[in-house]
């Protein structure tokens, strides 16, 4: 065990109830093996996934976020996945602008019949995020806030025991 432990990325996966979650179910009953790094959250539609959820997942420690929905034209609610696509095209630009690398967020259309695609997508994403390394936003935020602890002069230390609010 002298070898350094391999980095295991944490992936938060939002899967729509009607297609991608069903596909993950199919992968399960078909005993398809894939990387165990994805934490799957079932939502009724990919259109339910507010961009806030994705930012929040990153801020709380996810190394990658995967969003899975029905193929265009197949949405159970007719238009939900188009709304998803429009939002995510802009969100991807914004993530890049905020310093989150390409590949940490991924949108995939996976139908209920595509159990194998669940495996391929998750395995591929895990390897790509592993290559990028940890994102560790909670750790970075702690580093940013060290400068607040540094100010010792002038003001008595007894005050402000309360943690700064970031919520």
């Amino acid at each position: 065990m002298s070898e350094k432990r391999r980095f295991e990325p944490k992936i938060v996966a939002f899967f729509c109830n009607w297609c991608t979650y069903t596909a993950a179910d199919l992968a399960g009953v078909s005993r398809i093996k894939y990387a165990p790094n994805a934490r799957v959250i079932r939502v009724m539609c990919s259109g339910r996934v507010d961009p806030q959820f994705i930012l929040d997942a990153f801020a709380k420690g996810a190394d990658g976020v995967l969003l899975g929905g029905c193929h265009p034209g197949d949405c159970h609610y007719a238009e939900g996945n188009y709304k998803t696509l429009r939002r995510m095209r802009l969100l991807e630009r914004m993530l890049k602008g905020m310093g989150i690398e390409d590949g940490r967020f991924r949108l995939e259309w996976i139908s209920g019949a595509e159990g194998d695609k669940v495996k391929v997508v998750i395995n591929d994403m895990v390897e790509k995020v592993r290559a990028l390394g940890p994102l560790d936003l909670p750790g970075r935020a702690k580093g940013w806030d060290k400068e607040l602890e540094a100010l010792a002069h002038g003001v008595r230390k007894s005050e402000d025991k309360k943690e700064p609010t970031h919520a």
Binding site: Q52, D145, D160
Partner: protein, 323 residues
């Protein structure tokens, strides 16, 4: 006669517009001045830091603090005022969520200093002199505050009782807050002193907002004529109304300009920019990637547009790969 309540005004990283807003109370300010003792107001009156330091803790009834926290001096002052005050009111967009100074969270301190003191086209600084934290001049030690790496909202540094939103808060909201404080009829701690509902609800153009927005393009106010009657979103302008708290009575819209979001989000929304993407961007017309990208090209700077006043309070707080 009972002692008058003591009030302090202080400014941090801000433009001075919030001070202007207090003066905008016009004649009403005389009533306020009669009812309180002002113990600190750097823009208008001569008090020193030692005057505040000499006061007993909690002896100031309320401190109104505007501006983001950007320098060590600002942090020191707000910690001092926190200790001396019973109530702290976070005053205006910069104090509440970082405001325009908060956009600096896209850059490192070094990038900002280098641009401001060396690279900016209007700067002539051959020696590349930068402000130093301390220096000696004729035997006197002089010191300057330093810039933090990260711009913060006031409540990310000290505890805050109430929040007055706006860039700047309107005289009506200020008067309401002062009246509540003087009468002792205080709302629960943490209250934002403005209605907790989206701006569209009080917008005079509300009736012209279609149920289905169907945006085929985004326009910018400097390059397209603006219809003074019709919903600005329906015209294709990135009006922030749907993701912004009301209370300003749609001042900008009444001036025929789109809302830029200075009141911040309502209590149900955590991240104003992400919520705007969620609500408005989902309503564009195309369904294919190329078509969508073509429409979204009409928003050249989504971060600067949707987080204009709130990057430090957004979920990510700053560009995450900066040291």
């Amino acid at each position: 006669m009972p002692e008058k309540p003591k009030v302090a005004f202080y400014w941090c990283a801000s433009c001075g517009g919030c001070e202007e807003a207090v003066v905008d109370l016009a004649e009403d300010i005389l009533g306020v001045v009669n009812a309180v003792d002002i113990v600190l107001w750097p823009v208008a009156m001569d008090f020193k830091k030692k005057d505040i330091e000499a006061r007993p803790d909690k002896s100031i009834t309320v401190s109104f603090i505007n501006g983001a926290i950007r320098t060590t001096e600002q942090e020191e002052w707000v910690r001092l005022l926190r200790r001396k005050s019973q109530f702290v009111i976070s005053f205006g967009a910069c104090a509440n969520s970082g405001g325009i100074p908060g956009l600096a969270n896209q850059f490192t301190r070094e990038q900002i200093l280098k641009f401001s003191y060396e690279d900016s086209p209007s700067v002539s600084n051959e020696a590349k002199t930068r402000p130093q934290a301390s220096c000696q001049d004729e035997g006197h030690a002089l010191s300057l505050p330093t810039l933090h790496n990260v711009v913060r909202s006031l409540d990310q540094v000290i505890e805050v009782e109430y929040t007055l939103p706006g860039c700047p808060p309107t005289p009506k909201l200020i008067a309401g807050a002062v009246t509540a404080l003087l009468s002792g009829k205080l709302p629960p701690k943490g209250t934002v002193l403005s209605p907790d509902i989206a701006l569209c609800e009080e917008c005079p153009r509300k009736d012209s907002k279609p149920a289905d927005l169907a945006l085929a393009e985004f326009k910018r106010p400097h390059s397209s004529p603006i219809d003074p009657e019709k919903c600005l979103l329906a015209q294709g302008f990135t009006c922030m109304g749907p993701a912004t708290r009301s209370g300003c009575e749609a001042l900008c819209v009444k001036g025929n300009m789109p809302c830029t979001g200075c009141f911040g989000p309502t209590s149900r929304v955590r991240d104003q920019g992400a919520k705007y993407v969620s609500s408005v961007v989902s309503n564009i017309v195309p369904k294919d990637e190329a078509g969508i990208d073509a429409v979204l090209a009409g928003i050249p700077d989504p971060i600067g547009t949707f987080y204009r006043y709130g990057m430090p309070k957004s979920i990510l707080r700053r560009k995450v790969d900066l040291s």
